[in-house]
Amino acid sequence: MGLVMPLSVCTFSGFFKSFTSPIHVLIPCSEVTSVICGTLHSVDQYLNIKLTDISVTDPEKYPHMLSVKNCFIRGSVVRYVQLPADEVDTQLLQDAARKEALQQKQ
């Protein structure tokens, strides 16, 4: 499942593209927070996330999600995104952010 997404100016779009294994997305819905775990399908400039093969960490609490396989999550409601640590290169990410800042200044 390749990721197709815009090469927008935002560094994090490119950052999200590089993932291949499942990630966790923590969603708040007012008081209710649910953690959805799935494989990242695509991200856009607003950081809306599409996940495939999702699973909810607490199925008893959210039984309505049992049948859902793919989902689209609006970027603004995401509180955290938990990523596999071994797939993240923080140094490179910092560099990318610095380059982008430089670009924007110019």
């Binding site: 197709v4 090469l7 490119g14 593209k17 490179l92 560099d95 990318a96 610095r98 380059k99």
Partner: protein, 780 residues
Amino acid sequence: MSSSHNEAIVLIGKSLEDCPLDEDEDAFQGLGEEDEEIDQFNDDTFGSGAVDDDWQEAHERLAELEEKLPAAVNEQTGNGERDEMDLLGDHEENLAERLSKMVIENELEDPAIMRAVQTRPVLQTQPGSLNSSIWDGSEVLRRIRGPLLAQEMPTVSVLEYALPQRPPQGPEDDRDLSERALPRRSTSPVIGSPPVKAVPIGTPPKQMSVPSFNQQILCPKPVHVRPPMPPRYPAPYGERMSPNQLCSVPNSSLLGHPFPPSVPPVLSPLQRAQLLGGAQLQPGRMSPSQFARVPGFVGSPLAAMNPKLLQGRVGQMLPPAPGFRAFFSAPPPATPPPPQQHPPGPGPHLQNLRSQAPVFRPDTTHLHPQHRRLLHQRQQQNRNQHRNLNGAGDRGGHRSSHQDHIRKDPYANLMLQREKDWVSKIQMMQLQSTDPYLDDFYYQNYFEKLEKLSAAEEVQGDGPKKERTKLITPQVAKLEHTYKPVQFEGSLGKLTVSSVNNPRKMIDAVVTSRSEDDETKEKQVRDKRRKTLFIIEKTYSLLLDVEDYERRYLLSLEEERPALMDERKHKICCMYDNLRGKLPGQERPSDDHFVQIMCIRKGKRMVARILPFLSTEQAADILMTTARNLPFLIKKDAQDEVLPCLLSPFSLLLYHLPPVTVTSLLQQLMNLPQSAAAPAPSNPHLSAVLQNKFGLSLLLVVLSRGEDLQSSDPASESAQSNPWTEVMFVATRELLRIPQTGLAKPISIPTNLVSLFSRYVDRQKLNLLETKLQLVQGIR
């Protein structure tokens, strides 16, 4: 003007008052004149004037034009358009001209305006100035054969490949009755009023976008729209080469490696919309979407196709918003690729491939090869898992259920193919990039690193060598165009035309700097830290630039290279100055600046990265300063524990240092007394160093290096009075004195330390040292 107006009013008033009876007629006449005008307007709008023409005739005329046009397009583009114009709307044309004359700036480059207005007041067909947009037909873009890029990078317009092929000889078979030309309305031009359009803004264009464009000006005209053509399979080779075929030119620098035939990019329905779904392509051009359109089409005859495929991101090839020009490479070569490389049609392949297992794998052509490999590995694993769970029988069922699904889908075909194209185009426009390395820095570098790692591992393991495929992305030429807002002739002052590309200034913010009088000590400290952070960031940008020079060097021309090297040297000097805190007039810069930088975690990492770029003297200076201030730095590093990252660059540096430097370094590191006099009762410096992982490791490395130098140099071996030897005596004495408690565990232990110490101490003390410093392998 106002006076005459007043006069008119007065006259009428007079006519009413003074001559009530006789001149009523006049008055009425005056009013009657007005009435006449009103009648005229009404007539124009609703009555006979509105239907000037028999719409059927107009339609026929247009149809004739259609047939003429494709031929005309290839020869001379502008004339074709103008012919249409003349045939259909003389006075509209005049109006357009009049309007265009009013606009001073002819280059309406604001895409927002252009799209909203859908007007081309200036009908120019010079290649240089034609603004393209997503609405343009492929014909328009083919006309744009701009100058070659200096970089000799053949770029592609994916608009070519994205848009459905305009059938050059299109018989008007199925004309939809509902899409006849609208009756012409007469014109009542009001400048500034919104254009009256036959189709609302935002409707995807119909097939015939070129002539319709040129016809639509401010006032509506009958627009002939052709009914949608059914999607076609790739025409047999023989039509003119598309730019995409130019990519198959052998010497094209876009092509790196042949596309690995083991990866068929078959689309899943999910991916289809994200790619250029409806592309009708010339053969020889790879498009997964072509195959996706055939239901049940499985796998791909990729191996049969032209193997030279653009590995780059599919989406990067789209032209951007208007104002951008797609540059084509040199005219296509004379020899087309051999015909057997393209499939005659999907038909014969269907049989072959249907027998295979249906593998709907999404398109991954745009991904980095390493990424693709990882993904496929994962997919294989998943598939294996599924296979184990479900058994082989599932596949047949899966296939048929999928076909059922296609047949019974009530939501299929809600969108026409061109509408899907339109949406995809909009999405893909975001993907185009002039410099993918810069725009997508993280992704590119991450996978490059992964590849390097795997390459390194393979070299060690002597495994099978994988193909080092590089990610080649097509680069699009970006033209810098400055947007100038439209100005109208004869207007008083500048009318503010603000759009998304030319926003109005809302706030006038003035920057005021605070006075420095009432700064407290805390604030000073904070400011100092901020200043340090700022310097670190500045140096970091320099560092990133310098790291980039290698790539730029490779891309640049021969003449530019010396200049690049100079730039690089200059930047490195700047970096060093930043690190050491250059102060004019001070011969010996204080350590303070550097120490401040080293107190911050990212400062340390940065120094570790900068060190390889510095000259030996500069780097040695840094090393000495570090050694001098090591206890302080160790204290500050207690939380971060980042100092060990400095060990490898320092070790590397040590190999370049002369013995003298190594000796003095050792002295600094251990805080050895200068003379051989009786040492101080305690050596907290040394204790601190030894109790820290980094400190101890560094010390061991220095000792090892010294030993190497000593043993390799036969002259100094014999000489007894050697600075190094002297220092070593003192050093071993110190080391013996240090209590064992709390000694750190070093990162690595050099092997020659035992032999080193054996020179200077007797056996008993040697054992002691070994135990203390855990120099012997077994003890740990």
